[in-house]
């Protein structure tokens, strides 16, 4: 149960078990899909364009189960955090350990054209841990974290499924499926979590969702389709710009006020919008739309040349800059 408190926006105790439901749904769907992919009868049912990928799914299922195991550890960590409240040092240590194992064991690394495995490995661990915490931090209003994760994952999956201009490319079915299953699970969860929420995802859900989005974005290939679009590696940054903005801005506010960045409060982007006079529902929809507008840049990035990528960057900075300007009023009149 999540009890009302000074840094909460709800007024009655609300159960926190939604994250377990999200995890259960993703794990069950993917386990069933990877097991069914090995059955000959499934190959007969599916159209050839999809059936030809089934041997690849069977081959990769251990990899997927490994990723799922990492998510399960984080979900259990979050569950323990929900029940007892863990020290942030312990939480961070376990998050880093899981991220490191996944990066090293599953060879999941950011493709940033840096010819140094240590640097890309370190950045990849930072990316996973950063997103776990970003989705945990943005989980502060009914439907917010789940909705933002669903929009971001759907946009990333859409980009991976889009037919490419070269004609020799193939959609990335496997990673798209990972993300779409999460989107489905989040939509099912949002039926219960939309305002007024009957249940929250809790830390268990936020850790799992952040991890899954991070690993999905690492597992995708952004430049294999067209070597003319190396800038497409920045697509996940566009899709996830808003949760990252929320995390970085709230850390900045806490540090500038001389507090620990891990100390919870009501100074998140959504809270700041409500302080400006928007209703909670309006604040959530502003953040949904901002996520969508930033995510659109990812789709453009995958299809444009380097000059176009500069326009995309300008557009992204414009959206984030606009949000930062909207924020300035609340920074000047802090209200805890």
């Amino acid at each position: 149960m999540d009890k009302p408190g000074y840094r909460k926006v709800h007024t009655t105790p609300i159960p926190l078990g939604g994250g377990v439901g999200i995890w259960f749904s993703v794990a069950t769907t993917l386990l069933a899909a990877t097991l069914l992919a090995g059955l000959p009868v499934v190959r007969q049912w599916l159209p050839e364009s999809l059936a030809q990928h089934l041997p690849g799914v069977v081959e990769s299922r251990w990899k997927l189960w490994g990723i799922l195991a990492g998510g399960t550890v984080l979900m259990l960590l979050g569950l323990e955090d929900d029940r007892r409240g863990l020290k942030w040092q312990w939480r961070l240590a376990i998050e880093v350990a899981v991220a490191t194992v996944i990066v090293l064991w599953q060879q999941m690394q950011l493709s940033l054209f840096i010819d140094n495995g240590w640097v890309t490995g370190l950045l990849s661990v930072l990316w996973i841990v950063g997103l776990i915490n970003a989705f945990n931090m943005i989980d502060n209003m009914d439907g917010l974290s789940g909705g933002v994760a669903a929009i971001g994952s759907a946009m990333l999956a859409g980009m991976l499924l889009m037919p490419q201009a070269t004609g020799e490319s193939q959609p990335q079915w496997f990673v798209a499926a990972m993300l779409l299953v999460l989107v489905g699970a989040l939509l099912g969860f949002l039926v219960h979590n939309r305002a007024p929420a009957k249940i929250f995802m809790g830390d268990a859900g936020a850790y799992f969702v952040g991890y899954w989005v991070a690993v999905g974005s690492l597992a995708a290939t952004y430049t294999g389709y067209q070597s003319a679009t190396p800038h497409a590696v920045f697509a996940p940054l566009c899709v996830l710009a808003i949760p990252l903005y929320d995390m970085l801005s709230v850390i900045w506010i806490r540090i500038s006020e001389g507090r620990s960045p891990f100390e919870g409060d009501k100074r998140h982007f959504s809270h700041r919008l409500v302080e400006q006079g928007w209703s909670k529902t309006q604040a959530v929809w502003i953040i949904y739309l901002a996520t969508f507008c930033c995510g659109i840049n990812a789709w453009i990035l995958a299809r444009t040349d380097w000059v176009g990528s500069l326009w995309v960057l300008a557009n992204l900075l414009g959206i984030v800059g606009l949000l930062a300007l909207l924020d300035l009023g609340t920074h000047r009149s802090p209200k805890r």
């Binding site: 439901g21 499924l161 037919p163 989107v183 099912g188 969860f189």
Partner: protein
Amino acid sequence: MKQDAAVWEVVGFVLGCLLPAALLAWLAVGLV
């Protein structure tokens, strides 16, 4: 030679991923 997917196959794939997960989550979260 890999065969390209038609639009309806992509739509079917998307729904095939979304619907079972959504239904399971709706039931599981509702039961918690």
